[in-house]
Subunit: 196 residues, 2 copies
DNA sequence: ATAAATACTTACCATTTGGTAAGTATTCTG
DNA sequence: CAGAATACTTACCAAATGGTAAGTATTTAT
């Protein structure tokens, strides 16, 4: 590996954009952090927005591989949901910046969100088909699949990435609480999903 | 009412901070929007951060009154949750910037989030006691009350305020979809909460 | 009538920011 | 070994940004 600077920039940018926000992170901040000059960044990525797009691509890939790695095609019914929730929480603990960036971009829209939306719609399409099949098999409660997924997505990502709300509830966002939050989220979803 | 400029600034700032973000909104933008000069803003609010704190206070008040206005103390069990979810969706449709700002601040932490946290912890304390009472009465499923609230909060606010995720699911975030999302979210929560 | 407070505006300003231009050291290629 | 591509750095820069200083018109208080 000759340099790896390009990858180091990408990693730092993902961490900074995902945790502190895009506007709150200047190229100079990143450069100082990396011990290089701002122009080195602009050599590898033609503009700040181009860098953002690259970080989004990386984040989507990481999220995708985390989820597809967890999705055991053998698993049926709620087991599969459980696997996915576990994987999501694991990612939130290991690399909070990835989910942070996804949330950030999905909220503010703009040019960059188009890429994210199209990348995620593939995953979501699979998910919709899975949920529909489970409903048809009578294992999941009958609800509108897409709305259901939106609620599940919001609940999981929200619980996994909202430390301030946890603090307001009197829970410290440490690892132990996160583990408990994961367990409770799974129970919550189990109750909501499984057909009587 | 002599001027009202102070209030107009506050309204515009809440809308801009809540929808586009704090960093993404410059005082010049706000000033042009209002047809005044930037220095008029700094006359009423000593700094941009002071303005942010004022908008947070306003947003918390609006959220609080929307929720307390909906909370019928007579209502028991799931009815009360339903009222609250309806009120939250109504607020999301009427003034999306309020929930937007709450989410924004709760995510990024910082100085301002302390005020929000303390203001919200009162509401959440009431909510925790309510949920505990319902569990004790056997009307709600037994789950950890605070984690449950976190999941409910995340699901509702997420569904109500994530247009991009809705788009990725192939749903246009218009009023009709929002009404459907509300109905489905309520059904989802009903299934998750109500004890067998 | 005069002083003083209120509600601004015009005029600046230092810093930060994303970005360009040009130079330099190093490595690869013919 | 010459030249070209790669991977940077130093040197700038125009625009934007939050904020200060000072002036002005209007209303209020004495």
């Amino acid at each position: 590996m000759p340099t790896g600077t390009r990858d180091r920039i990408l990693d730092s940018a993902l961490a900074a954009f995902g945790m502190r926000g895009y506007d709150a992170t200047s190229l100079d901040d990143l450069a100082v952090d990396l011990g290089i000059t701002k122009q080195a960044i602009l050599y590898h990525y033609s503009s700040k927005e181009a860098l953002l797009e690259a970080t989004i691509e990386l984040a989507v890939n990481e999220l995708g591989s985390a989820l597809s790695g967890a999705a055991n095609p053998q698993a049926r019914g709620f087991e599969r949901i459980e696997d996915l929730v576990r994987a999501t929480f694991s990612l939130a603990a290991r690399r909070p910046e990835v989910l942070g960036l996804v949330r950030l971009v999905s909220r503010q829209g703009g040019v960059a969100s188009g890429k994210l939306a199209s990348a995620m719609s593939v995953m979501l399409g699979d998910a919709v088909r899975f949920v529909e099949a489970e409903m048809a098999a009578g294992r999941f409660r009958r609800l509108e699949p897409r709305m259901l997924l939106l609620a599940v997505y919001s609940a999981v990502v929200g619980v996994a990435t909202e430390p301030e709300v946890m603090r307001a509830l009197g829970l410290e966002p440490d690892l132990r609480s996160l583990v408990r939050a994961r367990r409770e989220t799974i129970e919550f979803l189990r109750a909501a999903l499984i057909a009587d």
